[in-house]
């Protein structure tokens, strides 16, 4: 099982991990995750009165012998988790060395691999100003190649409209679960409504913001013609030391604003610089944040 996204050694390390969701979701298939559904799991949940048609196998006969009344034992169903990988493919993601999109692809692939390996359902969708072609949530390790292929073929195009695409996804998605958003979150229109739509819906949201160092420390000064890579707008200006310092402060303020927002919405947030090897992001930072077990 070879991939251009990462090597076999890394994949072996990923096999020992599983994704954690803080919310409890209703699954589709039986698995080892606790769900809201009462079912045939191993963990006792409650009693209820017997009604006609209930399965006799769950009647607690010991209670019946003492009370002469029929009660059914109710167990928590253990089902699978649906993992939604939302990858930003707007043109701003091609900035950086390596490009932020490559970095996002690898992290998404790694997380998808962990999910599929843990028998969870894993779906993926790219987005820019519109939702891209989705890969519906599927289960089973045989889906790994399809998932990798999906990520490898992601085009980098369009501008960013986080509010619209995330709201649409929250509305359109039939299945809740863990929504992992991989984006640089650089959207002039904002990100709040989109993330709110996910968080207030059926999703446990993990936002991984990808940042290239050149965005925080621009390696240029002097007379420039800045080009917005998404809108192709141009702006002539002369960049000097003082302006760069103001810009850096502005960027840090923006990042802190995102972090504060996520904390208030109970949205998990991780900022990843492309200078950090993505293996470390997966194996160390995500584990440290208790997103992986």
């Amino acid at each position: 099982m070879q991939s251009t996204l990462f090597d076999a050694e890394f994949m072996r390390k990923l096999e020992t991990l599983r994704l954690l969701a803080r919310k409890v979701f209703r699954g589709q298939s039986q698995n080892d995750r606790t769900t809201l559904r009462r079912g045939m799991g191993l963990e006792f949940s409650d009693y209820r009165r017997y009604h006609a048609g209930d399965d006799f196998r769950y009647i607690d006969w010991n209670v019946y012998s003492r009370l002469d009344r029929l009660f059914l034992k109710i167990f928590t169903a253990e089902e699978d988790l649906t993992i939604h990988l939302l990858v930003d493919t707007s043109r701003s993601m091609q900035v950086g060395t390596p490009p932020k999109l490559d970095y996002a692809r690898r992290i998404a692939a790694a997380l998808g691999y962990i999910g599929l390996n843990g028998l969870d359902r894993v779906g993926a969708v790219s987005f820019a100003d519109e939702l891209g072609r989705p890969m519906p949530p599927q289960r089973g390790r045989q889906q790994i190649f399809a998932l990798f292929k999906y990520f490898e073929d992601l085009p980098c195009q369009g501008s960013t409209d986080l509010n619209r695409v995330l709201s649409n996804y929250a509305r359109q998605s039939a299945q809740g679960g863990l929504a992992i958003v991989l984006s640089d979150l650089l959207d002039a229109h904002g990100y709040a409504r989109g993330l709110d739509a996910l968080a207030y819906g059926r999703f446990d949201v993990l936002v991984i913001q990808l940042v290239d160092e050149t965005e925080l420390y621009p390696p240029f000064d002097g007379a420039l013609r800045l080009q917005d890579i998404e809108s192709t707008q141009q702006r002539r200006l002369t960049v000097n030391r003082r302006l760069l310092e103001r810009y850096r402060q502005k960027v840090l303020d923006y990042f802190n604003e995102i972090e504060t927002f996520c904390a208030r919405r109970n949205i998990e947030y991780l900022r990843a610089s492309t200078t950090i090897p993505f293996e470390d992001v997966v194996l160390r930072y995500l584990r440290r944040g208790f997103y992986l077990q």
Partner: protein, 617 residues
């Protein structure tokens, strides 16, 4: 404002070059960024407006363009032109008399006068000329008409007040002579108004503008000083000293007379009312030799006249042999002259003459024929020598004086105007002799000056003329004795007012003389004649003139009551602008150069650009 060097404006052509360089240097690089909204937010917060942002971004360029403009302006030599209606050449008369040393609260009067002179120069219309005349004891043209203000400014600043009396009248007359009666010249006199009489100037044709400097009014000064040895008493001297209060308040003046090494000779205190002069005659104990200094110990505004100097020299003794007829006037005069000892003889033969020459420095033949004269000093009165150089041809009645050589040492200060002579010998000086007083048909005074023989011949009888009754007689005799028999001691002395020439007689040929001034500076002079006139006694004090081993002390003093009177003269109004100035001929302009200020502006711009560069706007 006008540009004196408009060709320099071509340097403005550098502006397009700078713009081109700026454009090339600031060719903008294309840079792709992930998003704009953060940059725009930063720019909004940093500059508020795009216009300001552009301005700030282009500050270095603006400074560079401004620098080119300012430097070009400086090179173009801008001048601020101011139209003036008075467009005349100026003859500036600057008072350099001793009273200009008067101290005021704003420096000396002369310092103020220099400033006023510079103001006049500054306002001199462009293209007009100015001449500078100093009014010292003798007027001096320092700078003839010149339009170069730098030269004129340097000439004004070079001047210093002298210790001598001033003669503003002569200076103004000289200045007026330059105007040639035209209306295109203006005489500007700058001084303290403490001048002598100013009458007789043609101020109607060329107005004189007087600019008076003021300040300083308290002065007490020594106006006269004389020293002489008492003839009848050994080693005793008489001193005459006059002290005058020129202030408006009564003063008590301590007075001190000291000899060499400040040895006190006299101490006295004199009370003087305003304008009062006190004459002090005192006897000083001897022996005295060298400089005697009189001093009023008072701190006033004009300290120059607080000291006066006198010199005492060893008196010389001159033996004179009077041969011939008795002459009351001559004998009285000879016996009254100090240091002169007179012998009388009725006749002198050729044989006895050599012996008599050894005993007498001067032999006077009065009306008797002298023997042949080959060496020695002789005065012949109404008689002729047996010499081919002075030929006599009878007599002439009532000869009229036609002219006399005023510059000859024998006739200095001698006025022979309307001299009456009843009868005189007809004398025709030949080669080797010289006529000093020419009269009708004869020479009244002739000399033979061929060392070792010196003969002075007066061609008439003193008793048959009015010469003995005139002031000229003792002056002539004094000059004659000094010329025929100069002081032969190692030390002689003289007195002179500052700025006045002093004549020295030598008894033997001298080629050069060394003069030490009161400050101790020495200077060598070439001696071109005998007597020799020393004209550089400009400073108050004692000069020492050395010729070999001999020393001649010269006491130089101000001793001028008119000059010590530092208050403005009452006659000042007589030549102050009492006439209307001539109608302006042409409107002129005064140019004030501005290049220095523009250059300072360039420095400021340069500093501004440096600041912008350091701050990295």
């Amino acid at each position: 404002m006008t540009w004196l060097n408009p060709a320099a404006l071509a340097f403005l052509g550098f502006i397009p070059v700078v713009l081109l360089l700026h454009t090339l240097r600031h060719r903008r690089r294309d840079v792709q960024v992930s998003t704009f909204f953060l940059w725009e937010s930063v720019l909004r917060e940093a500059h508020g407006s795009l216009g300001w942002q552009r301005l700030v971004q282009n500050l270095p360029l603006l400074f560079q363009i401004l620098l080119i403009i300012v430097l070009t302006a400086a090179l173009a030599n801008p001048v601020l032109t101011r139209a003036v209606t008075d467009n005349k050449d100026i003859i500036l008369v600057l008072d350099v008399s001793a009273s200009m040393q008067t101290r005021t609260s704003q420096g000396s009067r002369f310092t103020q006068a220099q400033q006023r002179a510079l103001e006049v120069l500054q306002n001199l219309p462009s293209g007009r000329q100015m001449a500078l005349i100093t009014a010292g004891r003798q007027p001096q043209v320092v700078e003839f008409f010149n339009a170069d203000k730098d030269v004129l400014r340097e000439a004004i600043m070079r001047q210093q007040p002298t210790d001598a009396s001033g003669n503003m009248r002569e200076a103004l007359i000289l200045a007026l002579s330059f105007t040639q009666g035209s209306g295109t010249h203006e005489v500007v006199a700058i001084g303290d108004g403490a001048y002598g009489p100013l009458h007789g100037m043609d101020a109607q044709r060329s107005p004189i503008r007087h600019m008076q400097v003021t300040g300083g009014e308290k002065n007490v000064g020594i106006t006269r000083m004389a020293l002489r040895k008492v003839q009848d008493a050994a080693e005793t001297y008489d001193m005459l000293l006059a002290v005058k209060n020129f202030s408006s308040q009564p003063v008590q003046v301590p007075l001190q007379v000291t000899a060499v090494l400040r040895k006190p000779l006299l101490e006295r205190s004199v009370a003087l009312q305003p304008g009062q002069e006190e004459v002090i005659v005192a006897t000083l104990p001897g022996p005295l030799k060298g400089t005697v200094q009189a001093e009023v110990l008072i701190d006033d505004d004009f300290p120059l006249d607080n000291r006066a100097y006198g010199v005492v020299a060893t008196p010389t003794q001159t033996w004179v042999l009077l041969v011939g007829e008795s002459n009351y006037f001559l004998e009285t005069l000879l016996t009254s002259l100090p240091g002169l000892l007179v012998n009388v003889a009725p006749q002198v033969s050729e044989d006895t003459l050599p012996r008599l020459l050894e005993a007498n420095q001067l032999i006077i033949f009065n009306g008797v024929q002298p023997p042949p004269l080959r060496r020695g000093h002789f005065l012949l009165l109404n008689t002729a020598p047996q010499d081919q150089r002075l030929v006599t041809e009878g007599t002439v009645q009532r000869p009229q004086v036609l002219d006399w050589q005023r510059q000859h040492p024998l006739l200095q200060f001698v006025d022979l105007t309307a001299l009456h002579v009843e009868e005189a010998l007809v004398v025709r000086p030949e080669t080797g002799a010289q006529s000093l007083v020419d009269a009708t048909w004869t020479s009244l005074l002739s000399v033979i000056d061929e060392p070792p023989l010196r003969v002075v011949m007066l061609a008439f009888d003193l008793m048959r003329s009015d010469l003995p009754l005139r002031v000229a007689f003792p002056v002539l005799m004094s000059n004659l004795l000094r010329w025929l028999h100069p002081p032969q001691e190692e030390m002689s002395a003289g007195h002179v007012q500052a700025g006045m020439p002093h004549t020295i007689f030598f008894d033997k040929p001298v080629s050069h003389i060394t003069v030490q001034d009161p400050q101790g500076k020495q200077r060598d002079y070439s001696v071109t004649g005998n007597p020799w006139t020393f004209a550089d006694a400009q400073k108050v004090g004692t000069y020492i003139l050395r010729t070999g081993e001999a020393k001649h002390y010269l006491a130089v003093n101000l001793l001028d009551a008119a000059e010590s009177d530092i208050n403005p003269s009452d006659q000042l109004a007589s030549f102050a602008p009492g006439v209307k100035p001539a109608a302006p001929q042409h409107a002129g302009v005064v140019e004030t150069p501005l290049w220095l200020y523009v250059l300072l502006g360039a420095v400021v711009v340069l500093l501004g650009e440096g600041y912008v560069w350091c701050k990295d706007f």
